[in-house]
Every structure is written in structure tokens, then in C-alpha cells.
């Protein structure tokens, strides 16, 4: 860890400050001007994350002690590879969605509820995401997570009050469990700083209980099966840009905290049964979510259940890291694979929801039975959807494939044939449920009458989908970035 040199570019800090400032500015400026902020902020954030990624890559992990107060008294921001890739992902997806949302959440005439309230929520969500990804203090993560929850629930509420309330209930419960865990941890150790906590190596009951509580709470927020009940209605009924953010980024935030807990904070606490349990739930998610996705009749619901399923893969990294899998030619294969999966899924899912949003804008609905011929009306959109689907199915040359390949290698090297089979089955099921809408969209030999969707807006999901595929081809930079400051445990395994 290197402290930033005096005068070094404060990339990490800017990633918090800029969106927060934008959020306040949006409140102040109102619905007429707020949508335009993103046109400035987006590029700025992309540049800043790029600089940060460069800093991390060249100088190693960055650590910022806020206010100059060292932990445990103060709060630190961690800029390691893990934070770096997710910050970049956030910048990309957020910018894309922000540009996309100019239309549904812009206002040509008078300020409306949506055009006013969406942008502060959006920027605050961005800030919250960044704060979570680079947060180095467990309580600070709690506050950031709550900010995230608030914005996410509010965005869901645009679509369905009921779904928003359900989401909020789950999130509240999750928060409480997490908070409970923090309380116990602080009481036992006197610190909340992730790095300081990582140096504690005694296994005490308190740490066990607190780890379990935090994990359980975060699982509810991540919507791991069987705690996923809130996700499909919420993601399925929110406006498309919001769904994109929720599925691609928001749930990853709590997942990253879980990773931080078990790979950084208390890897010694986790037992074999525990990590297996997580992966079993993950496998359950993959299969169950896919099966339900197969039964949906609305495009967005399919995508939402797909998220339930895809999340399952992320939990395979817990048993797969380390063990015999460490022998694979790729450093920390399973761990890196899991992170790649999160990235690829983030990009692909955002692309999908935005594409679905365009379909809804064009047709006024997203019932699969009635989207016949949409591929002729919106070829670029459906192409983007198809490309994103390729990544979700884990087909080469997409990022999803690379992720799956890394994890599969680890699984087989470790003798976890069951998980390997689930991964493959998951890919096939994904193909099955994503095939339905694509097939339907291609059917028919006429061009249905649709509302006008501009060309450049179709390019946004396409760009995201292409990125998701490109992640499999230009995979070295993100892969290398990911390895900076990677927990030793990612190689050695957390259960031994």
C-alpha cells in the first residue's frame, strides 16, 4: 500500500466528490438542466477512473485516509484492483445509462416528478456505488449501502410501489443483519477498518457470528437464492434505465462487500461447510433462476430472473478459490473468473435492460408473445440483445466465456464436478431462456408499426453489449488490474 504522494491526482476522492456534487447540483438546478449534468460528468468520471486504473496498475493499490486520520480512528478508501475494475464498470454503465435516460427522464417542457427526482437519485447512486466499491471501513460501507438502497428503492418505485416496498423490506432486513454484524465486530476488535481487521487472526465466536450476520444481510441485498424474492418484480417493473443500474451494479455492491469480508477481513473464520453452503446456494440460484426465467412471459422479467440465475455463479468462487484449483495455470483462476463474471454480467445485463427499454418504448409493452418482428424494426437493438445474450450464455469470445472458463478450470482442477456441471447447465439454460425472445423477435416477415426510436440511442445498448463481448478478447488489462492488491487468499483458498 502506498499513500498517495502529495500532489498526486486525487482520483479516488474525485470519484466520491464529483457524483455527490452532481447530485446536489441536480437538486438545485431542477429537472430542466439536471439531465445535462451527466453529459459532463460521464466523460469526467470515465477519465478519472481511467487515471485511477492507471495509478493502481502502475503504483500498486492506493489507500486514501480521509481527513488525514489514520484507521482505526479515521476512514480509509481502498483503491486496489478489485475496487478499480468495479469503479470502471460503474463509470461505464452509469455514463451509458445516464445518456440513455436523457429521453425518459429528461423534460422538454415543464419539470416533472421524474425529470426532477431521477437525477439526484441517479448521481447519489453513482456516489454510493463508488463509495461501496472503494470503501475501506465497514460502517462507512453500511452508510453507503443504505444510500444505495434508498436510491435503488426510489427508482423501483417509479415502476411499482409494491415491488419497491418489497425490495425495501428485504433491504431493511439485510441492513439490520449487516449492522448487527458490524456492532459485534467492533465490540470484539475495536476497529472497523478492513485492513486492520484483516490482521486479526484469532477465531472467536464473536467474529464468527458477526461474519455470518453480515453475510446473511448482504445476501438478502444481493438477492442470492432463496432470498431473491424481491428482485424479479423490482428489476422487472422499474423503468429500463433503472433496471439496468439495479441489475448490473447495485447488487454487485453488496456482493463486493461479501468478497471483501471473506477474502480480506476474516478468511480464517470461514469453514469448508460454509463455503460449500454458499456455492450450493449459488448452484440453486443458477438452476432455479434459469427455470423461472424460462417460464416468464415478459422480456424484462426474463432478464430479471436471469439476474437471479447469473448471481449464483459469483458464489462459486468461495469454495473454488485455492485448493487444488491453485494449481491451474491462471493465478487465482476462480476468484478472477468470478470477478470477470461480475463485470461481464454487469455490462451485458445493462445492455439487455436498455434494449428491453427500447423495445418497450417502441411497442409500448414487452410481452414476448407480441414482440414478433421487432428485430426488423429495431435491428440494432436486437443485435445488442443477442450479443449480450452471448456473453450471458458464456459463449466465446465474450467476457462471460472467459469468466466461465476460468471458473470451470478451477472447478475441475479441484474435483468439484458438480459445480462444473451446474455452470454448464446454467449456460445451456441461459441459452434456452434468452433464445425465446430473440427467436420471437426474429419471427414474422413484416415490420411492425412502432414508435420512433432514434438510431443513436440504439447504439448505447449495442456499445455495452460489445464491451461485454470485448471483455473476452481484450481481457488482459482488466485481468491484470484485478490482480493488483489481490488477497492472498484468492490463491490459497479461504477454507484452508
Amino acid at each position: 500500500m502506498t499513500a498517495p504522494l502529495p500532489g498526486a491526482f486525487p482520483a479516488l476522492e474525485l470519484l466520491i466528490v464529483l457524483p455527490l456534487a452532481a447530485s446536489l447540483l441536480a437538486i438545485l438546478l431542477g429537472g430542466r438542466l439536471a439531465p445535462r449534468i451527466v453529459l459532463l460528468l460521464g466523460p469526467a468520471m470515465l477519465v478519472v477512473t481511467a487515471v485511477l486504473a492507471f495509478q493502481i496498475q502502475t503504483q500498486g493499490p492506493v489507500r486514501v485516509e480521509i481527513g488525514g486520520w489514520e484507521a482505526p480512528l479515521g476512514i480509509a478508501l481502498i483503491g486496489d484492483g478489485l475496487a478499480g475494475v468495479f469503479l470502471v464498470l460503474t463509470a461505464i454503465v452509469m455514463t451509458a445509462v445516464g445518456v440513455f435516460a436523457q429521453k425518459p427522464f429528461g423534460s422538454e417542457g415543464a419539470e416533472t416528478t421524474e425529470s426532477y427526482t431521477f437525477w439526484p437519485l441517479y448521481f447519489a447512486m453513482w456516489a454510493a456505488l463508488n463509495a461501496v466499491f472503494c470503501g475501506g471501513d465497514l460502517f462507512n460501507l453500511y452508510v453507503a449501502l443504505e444510500l444505495l438502497t434508498l436510491t435503488a428503492v426510489a427508482m423501483v418505485a417509479y415502476g411499482s410501489t409494491r415491488a419497491a416496498l418489497r425490495y425495501l423490506l428485504f433491504a431493511l432486513a439485510g441492513s439490520l443483519a449487516y449492522l448487527m454484524g458490524i456492532v459485534l465486530l467492533y465490540s470484539a476488535t475495536g476497529t472497523l477498518d478492513i485492513e486492520l481487521l484483516a490482521r486479526q487472526d484469532t477465531i472467536e465466536a464473536t467474529r464468527m457470528v458477526s461474519g455470518a450476520l453480515m453475510t446473511a444481510g448482504l445476501l438478502a441485498k444481493t438477492a442470492l437464492f432463496p432470498l431473491h424474492g424481491w428482485l424479479p418484480p423490482a428489476h422487472g417493473s422499474a423503468p429500463a434505465p433503472a433496471s439496468a443500474l439495479l441489475s448490473s451494479l447495485v447488487i454487485k455492491a453488496s456482493f463486493v462487500i461479501i468478497v471483501r469480508i471473506w477474502f480480506d477481513v476474516m478468511p480464517d473464520v470461514a469453514g469448508t461447510v460454509f463455503v460449500q453452503l454458499l456455492s450450493i446456494l449459488g448452484a440453486g440460484a443458477v438452476l432455479y433462476g434459469s427455470l423461472l426465467a424460462l417460464r416468464q412471459t415478459r422480456l424484462k422479467m426474463i432478464i430479471a430472473y436471469s439476474t437471479v440465475a447469473q448471481l449464483g455463479y459469483l458464489f462459486f468462487i468461495f469454495p473454488l478459490a485455492g485448493g487444488a484449483a491453485a494449481e491451474t495455470p491462471w493465478a487465482a483462476g476462480a476468484w478472477s473468473g468470478g470477478m470477470f463474471h461480475a463485470l461481464a454480467h454487469g455490462l451485458a445485463k445493462a445492455a439487455m435492460f436498455l434494449a428491453a427499454g427500447l423495445v418497450i418504448e417502441a411497442l409500448g409493452h414487452d410481452r414476448i408473445d407480441d414482440i414478433k418482428g421487432i428485430a426488423r424494426a429495431l435491428p440494432l437493438t436486437m443485435f445488442a440483445f443477442g450479443l449480450a445474450a452471448v456473453s450471458l450464455m458464456g459463449l466465446p469470445p465474450s467476457g462471460g466465456f472467459l469468466a466461465k472458463y476460468l471458473m470451470l478450470t478451477a472447478a475441475l482442477a479441484d474435483g468439484q464436478i458438480g459445480l462444473a456441471l451446474v455452470m454448464l447447465a446454467g449456460g445451456l439454460l441461459a441459452a434456452a431462456y434468452l433464445f425465446r425472445p430473440v427467436n420471437r423477435a426474429l419471427a414474422g416477415d413484416y415490420v411492425p408499426e412502432v414508435a420512433v426510436v432514434t438510431y443513436w440511442r440504439q447504439l448505447i445498448p449495442l456499445g455495452l453489449a460489445l464491451l461485454s463481448v470485448a471483455l473476452g478478447i481484450i481481457s488482459e488489462p482488466p485481468y491484470d488490474l484485478l490482480q493488483v492488491g489481490r488477497s492472498k487468499v484468492a490463491v490459497e483458498g479461504i477454507d484452508d
Partner: protein, 112 residues
């Protein structure tokens, strides 16, 4: 705290634990969302009480101020969430004429 026998701090900490249990009970058992929000607040304050009690050192040693600061932050956060929950609940009531989620009403499945 086993060494010091039962003192006030332990007492309050245990009270916090039981409050959490009570809150959990309410959070699960009630379909009415307002009561759930209430239960949520009970759990929250139970956790805070426990936190505070565990950071309490009795006279002389000085109380640990960090938990207190965290608790204040937590209280504000809880209020924020409560406010949103209440607003959502009122909207739900306006839209659907009920204060419960459909899947928790006996005899009605999820229809979304």
C-alpha cells in the same frame, strides 16, 4: 463481560438483544407494513442499545465516543429509510387500498 458479573452495561446489552428478538418477531409476524416499519425501528434501536452498552465503560474509563457517533448516524439513516417506507406505504394504500403486500394476504398468490 463474564468476568465482571452482571453490570448495567451487560444488562442493557442483553436488553438490546431481547429487543432485537422482539423486533424480529414483529417484523416477521405482521403483514401490516406499518407495523413492520415499527418493528424495524425496534430492532434498530435494539442494535444501537446493544452497541452503546458494549462500548460503555462505566465511570472513570470514559465511554467510547465512536459507537455513539455511529449510532447517531445510524439513527438518522434509520429515519431516512423509515420516511421512505412510510411514503411508499401511503402510496401503496392509495393505489391498492391496502397496507400489505399481496403475497402475504392469505389466499392470494403473487400476481406480478
Amino acid at each position: 463481560m463474564s468476568g465482571a458479573g452482571l453490570d448495567s452495561a451487560t444488562l442493557f446489552a442483553l436488553t438490546g438483544a431481547i429487543l432485537i428478538g422482539i423486533g424480529v418477531y414483529g417484523f416477521i409476524v405482521h403483514a401490516h407494513l406499518l407495523r413492520r416499519i415499527l418493528a424495524f425501528n425496534v430492532i434498530g434501536s435494539g442494535i444501537f442499545l446493544m452497541f452503546g452498552a458494549l462500548g460503555f465503560r462505566g465511570a472513570g474509563n470514559g465511554t467510547d465516543p465512536v459507537p455513539q457517533a455511529l449510532i447517531i448516524t445510524g439513527i438518522v439513516v434509520a429515519l431516512s429509510l423509515t420516511a421512505l417506507a412510510v411514503a411508499l406505504l401511503v402510496k401503496l394504500a392509495e393505489e391498492e387500498g391496502g397496507a400489505t403486500l399481496p403475497e402475504e394476504q392469505p389466499g392470494r398468490g403473487e400476481a406480478e
